[in-house]
Amino acid sequence: MIRTVFNFYKEGFLSMKVGKKLWLIIGIKLFIMFAILKLFFFQDFLSSKFDNNKDKGNYVIEQLTKTK
């Protein structure tokens, strides 16, 4: 069963024509997104500052109630 599924995908990928170029673009896109953007520019703001949900909640409350 697993072998059949594996061969199904393998043959499918090997017989692709336009698909190979598309996979290259997808690869480049995912690399930019996860290895560059996510890693260097898009860290989760709250997780990078606080270790637990309680501290995150307290910080947000503090931010939301600063109106003066």
Binding site: Y9, V18, G19, K29, F42, V60, Q63, T65, K68
Partner: protein, 518 residues
């Protein structure tokens, strides 16, 4: 809020808008083309005619290119939520998490699994199973869209949740209210149907190009027949769901409706502006029409199904109208401020262990929570709460105008196709090609209406953009904005290039011609 960095808010909004508008270039074609392909394949399975298989496979290759380039562009939006909009992301709590988790599971199991069968399964699985896979890809794609649209609808009309002042998060108390809120239903149906319209126009436009080039005439005519029929039904339904959306906006977001129509002063028998040009007056709080073509009572009917119904204008919504039970923004700001102050006092009392005071403040907070977000405008001019009127007005009228044109377009195309004269109508064929960019324009205009029209709210009445942003350096947002712009432009050029190559190449094997030669 204290020390609001407006450049940070504006750049964060600009970045989100850029990403969302780019993401939305790909999604509607996926939503609509998946169904058109499934219908085409159904004809193949029913008739056994190999030409239908050829047609299906060709449009599937176009679908594949669009799907591949568009895939994962939405993930960037999630990055932005966590980095630029952390207050918002925390505040919404499960409301975004649950639908997005369901979306992820559905997208993975339905789209990813069956899309492989759809592309790799020809001659490897039975015809019927392949057809079932194509239908499941279509249904799966559309159901994926459901969940993100439900989350968006909640932001426009927050229901089925309770704010927990201890965790600063909204908790879902009634899943079905969130799922079946009138805004969610209309938003979902209107959005996916708009995708069907775009995809139909796309198929008709490309097929028209083949006819103009005197290539693949049978292929093109059959594609046009399916797309024009599907498109006409979809465009009529789009008008119906648009009507439903307008009624929901009138009820839950009256300021958005007033901005969409440039209605500064409310009235009974309010007119709908069929065509209008707003005057350009700098620093004016009101913009009058230079030219307009009003339909008397049209807006009252659109909003409430009654030609004489009262529709409030921007002036009444800002300054209040006791006759119609509308409280002013100033009052709402005071109520909101009371709620925010009570939340601060509750938190302080809890910390000091003053239970009685905490309970007292909690009660005040809850009683005034309805206008919580207005409190951030305490000491500000209430006019700051008016969305950009010109942009909302023009985007709305472009969307509606093009939507009306699309109905006529599909009817015309279908008429000439049924009469078997479409191949002789060069003007109509050229028009069909040039209608493709108009379909994309209508899509983007629709999103501008939905998102710009609700400004300044991230969550209607509860959280404005100024309270939703993270305290980060705006230069980071500016850098990533331009980084996105460069990456997205490069990807878009790549997609257009690959797609144009595929279009020029056309469908692959000419089964009918080959078989007729034999």
């Amino acid at each position: 809020m204290e020390h609001i960095d407006f450049s940070l808010v504006d750049w964060s909004r600009a970045q989100f808008a850029l990403t969302a508008l780019y993401h939305w270039i790909f999604v509607p074609l996926t939503l609509g083309l998946s169904f058109i392909i499934a219908i085409m394949e159904t004809f193949y399975v029913k008739t056994g005619n190999p030409e239908w298989k050829r047609i299906t496979k060709y449009w599937m290759s176009i679908f594949g290119i669009n799907f591949a380039i568009g895939v994962a562009t939405g993930i960037i939006l999630e990055f932005e939520f966590g980095t630029n909009w952390s207050n918002y992301s925390w505040f919404v709590g499960d409301i975004f998490g649950a639908p997005l988790a369901i979306e992820g599971i559905m997208a993975f199991f339905m789209e990813s699994t069956f899309i492989a069968v759809m592309f790799f399964g020809w001659n490897k699985v039975s015809k019927k199973f392949h057809l079932l896979s194509s239908w499941l890809v279509a249904i799966g794609s559309n159901l994926s869209a459901l969940w993100i649209l439900v989350a968006n609808a909640w932001m426009q009309h927050p229901v089925g949740t309770t704010f927990n002042p201890d965790t600063a998060r909204n908790e879902m108390t009634d899943f079905w209210s969130v799922l079946f809120s009138p805004v969610a239903i209309n938003k979902f149906l209107h959005t996916i149907t708009s995708g069907y319209v775009l995809a139909s126009i796309f198929v008709i436009g490309l097929s028209a190009w083949y006819i103009l080039k005197k290539r693949e005439i049978l292929f093109a005519k059959r594609s046009i027949t399916i797309a024009a029929t599907f498109g006409l039904i979809a465009s009529l339904y789009l008008a119906f769901t648009g009507d439903g959306s307008a009624k929901a906006v009138a009820k839950y977001q009256p300021m958005k409706l007033a901005a969409m129509e440039g209605l500064y002063h409310g009235s009974e028998n309010a007119p709908l502006i069929a065509i209008g040009v707003l005057e350009n007056v700098e620093n004016s709080k009101e913009e009058d029409f230079v030219v307009d073509l009003p339909i008397p009572g049209g807006l009252s009917f659109l909003a409430f199904g009654d030609w004489n119904a009262y529709v409030p204008g921007i002036h009444e919504l800002v300054h209040g109208d006791s006759l119609h039970g509308i409280i002013s923004y100033k009052e709402k700001i005071n109520i909101g401020k009371k709620s925010i102050d009570a939340l601060a006092a509750y938190t302080k009392a809890k910390k000091t262990g003053n239970t009685d005071e905490a309970q007292k403040q909690l009660k005040i907070f809850k009683e005034n929570y309805k206008y919580f977000g207005f409190g951030y405008y305490f000491g500000h001019d209430p006019h700051e709460l008016i969305p950009p009127v010109k942009l909302s007005f023009y985007a709305f009228h472009i969307m509606v105008g093009l939507g009306t044109y699309f109905i006529l377009f599909f009817a015309l195309i279908l008429f000439f196709t049924v009469k078997n004269k479409i191949q002789d109508k060069k003007f109509i064929l050229r028009l069909a090609v040039w209608t493709i960019p108009l379909a994309y324009l209508a899509q983007e205009a629709g999103w501008i209406v939905a998102e710009v029209g609700r400004q300044p709210w991230v969550i209607q009445d509860l959280m404005p953009t100024i309270a939703a942003v993270s305290k980060i350096d705006s230069s980071n947002v500016i850098i990533t904005f331009f980084l996105f712009l460069a990456v997205f432009t490069a990807l878009l050029i790549a997609e257009i290039k690959i797609m144009l190559q595929q279009i020029k190449k056309g469908p692959e094997e000419k089964l009918i011609e080959n078989s007729s030669k034999k």
